[in-house]
């Protein structure tokens, strides 16, 4: 069991006004999301003013801090969990950074020039799928509300490239032990991040950052990975991102921020992406040295090699001089990870992982119900073939605009081709529609997201703002200040003060 979460930046387009300002549209979409949520939403806590958080990485204990403010409030007794006070400031929301904290524990907001859904913390690959799809449903509901309010349409795309050089991300977050050295983490995780595209890729028409060459590749993001390790997320993007912002007790945890992944519209792709990476992280935390045999000689180049190899046969050079195909690297990782599956959910991930690798090795199209790039390639192949003639035996060439259009339409929320394939019974599901509908309104119950979403759902009247590790309360008190409830332990789903308030 590991705490994980997925963030999705959606592509955004006004189909009738392609040049509409995307920041403005995103802001209005978040506004529409708030309207859809009714009262049950809160602002984001940017946490600029946490008096006890020291930049050197520790928090002063309550006992040493502003005792004149803390002692007279009954909720600050030991059993009440950590609460500090914050002075009030003028309240202003930047429309370019509009936020909605939702009853399901997620954050829906404007990030750069895109609307983003940051899903709540969950503890399994299955739940990651459930709350990821809930995000699509919420974004779609917001878009419908937008159309009613604005008198214009907004279309949302769950993809990562526009074919003109721009890329936007789908990031995964994994809570890992602080005691694992970051160098070990980066070195040992890289072969997995490079090769998992074989089942996690969403497929893309066009090669190169601008789609300058014709063709099809496994991954949306591969051409935008330009470094092995680094802090950046918007340029010179690294395979392993070093942002160290745990949103949790810093001396216990790291939050590994994975930016290489594609946005997925297929459940199995999301499920395996999260589930397998979590298991490889368990092997890394256990210091399993077998992982070192899989180190790649040239990881950045290998990302593109794997992405462009539709045969899945290309050999990658390993650091020790040997070679392996992406599927062989994945088979080896699967064997290592068998020892780290500790519950039924993780055992199911192993079984699915093994099955999908086997199908990919036998006949890639036998994985078309599970692997997104395969399904996309299959549909495109059929479209190409429809246009075959004696003069053009291959049918449509890869540079034909119709194939590029299908690639975009694939990922459109609501009526995209992936959605229509699923409606035609061509896509295997991990999460049921009922589970997804419940997750639109309800937070996961086994992480602190339960508290964040629960208080927003039950008592929005007392919530000033909320963040990943805080809920800021604004209610009648003697001290007259805002109260910051600290939720630094992601697995702590109960809090005496918040539970009391939620119970009414």
């Amino acid at each position: 069991m590991r705490v994980v979460g997925i963030e999705t930046e959606y592509g955004i387009v006004d189909p009738d006004e392609p040049r509409a300002n995307p920041i403005l549209m995103s802001s209005r979409l978040v506004q529409a999301c708030r309207s859809w949520a009714g009262d049950r939403t809160a602002r984001w806590d940017y946490g600029g003013e946490d008096p006890l958080q020291d930049q050197r990485g520790f928090r002063r204990s309550r006992a040493q801090a502003t005792p004149e403010l803390l002692t007279d409030a009954p909720e600050f007794d030991e059993s009440a969990g950590e609460v500090t006070l914050r002075r009030r400031r003028g309240s202003w929301e930047d429309p370019a950074h509009l936020n909605a904290v939702l009853a399901n524990g997620a954050r829906f907001y404007v990030d750069h020039a895109h609307p983003e859904y940051s899903g709540p913390e969950v503890t399994s690959a299955h739940d990651a799928v459930v709350w990821d799809r809930a995000g699509d449903a919420i974004a779609l509901a917001a878009a419908q509300r937008y159309a009613e309010h604005e008198g214009s349409q907004v279309h949302l795309y769950k993809n990562n490239v526009d074919g003109k050089g721009a890329s936007y991300g789908t990031h995964e977050n994994f809570l890992v032990r602080r005691s694992t050295s970051f160098d070990d983490l980066a070195r040992r995780l890289t072969p997995h991040l490079v090769t998992r595209q074989v089942f996690a890729g969403a497929g893309r028409v066009g090669l190169g950052q601008f789609g300058e060459a014709a063709g099809f590749q496994l991954s949306q993001r591969a051409d935008y990975m330009e470094a092995e390790v680094g802090l950046e997320t918007t340029l010179r993007r690294p395979i392993v991102n070093t942002r160290d912002e745990p949103h949790a007790t810093r001396d216990r945890y790291r939050r590994l921020h994975v930016i290489i992944g594609d946005a997925n519209t297929f459940d199995v792709a999301t499920y395996l992406k999260i589930g397998t990476t979590s298991l490889v992280l368990a092997a890394i935390e256990a210091d399993d040295e077998r992982l070192d045999t899989l180190a790649l000689a040239a990881p950045v180049e290998a990302v593109q090699t794997v992405s462009r190899d539709l045969t899945l046969r290309e050999r990658l050079a390993l650091a020790d001089g040997d070679t392996a195909s992406a599927l062989e690297v994945q088979r080896a990782l699967l064997e290592i990870c068998r020892s780290y599956a500790t519950d039924a959910g993780e055992a199911a991930v192993i079984a699915r992982w093994e099955g999908v690798l086997e199908r990919l090795a036998t006949d890639v199209f036998s994985a078309a119900r599970e692997v997104e790039w395969v399904a996309k390639l299959q549909l495109m192949g059929r479209m190409r073939a429809r246009h075959a003639s004696p003069e053009a035996p291959d049918g449509l060439p890869w540079h034909d605009a119709r194939l590029a259009a299908m690639d975009l339409q694939w990922s459109r929320l609501g009526d995209g081709l992936a959605t229509r394939l699923a409606a035609a019974g061509q896509v295997e599901r991990i999460a049921s529609d009922e589970e997804v509908a419940a997750a639109v309104a309800t937070a996961p119950q086994d992480t602190r997201a339960r508290l964040r979403g629960g208080i927003v759902a039950a008592r929005p009247d007392v919530v000033d703002a909320a963040g990943w590790s805080t809920v800021v309360l604004d209610r009648e008190t003697d001290h007259g200040h805002l109260e910051v409830v600290h939720l630094d332990e992601p697995l702590a789903a109960r809090h005496p003060l918040l539970d009391a308030l939620m119970a009414g």
Binding site: I12, P18, H112, T233, T234, A298, T311, T323
Partner: protein, 62 residues
């Protein structure tokens, strides 16, 4: 691992046989379920594919 980077050498002995066929979907068993969908997509794409692709422009994100 950067210092182990083989600077583009690794693949020269390991290029797969050039005629390794890229997979092409044969007439799939699931194919018939797709025929209607394909016909519909094809119809809509005749009209505006190029303009649609050209007008899909995003700002870079993370």
């Amino acid at each position: 691992m950067a210092q182990l980077n083989a600077q583009g050498q690794p693949y020269e002995d390991e290029t797969p046989e050039p005629d390794a066929p890229a997979p092409t979907p044969a007439a799939q068993t699931s194919g018939d379920a797709l025929d209607d969908l394909l016909a519909e997509i094809d119809g809509s794409l005749q009209v505006n594919a190029e303009q649609f692709v050209r007008s899909f422009v995003q700002k870079g994100g993370q």
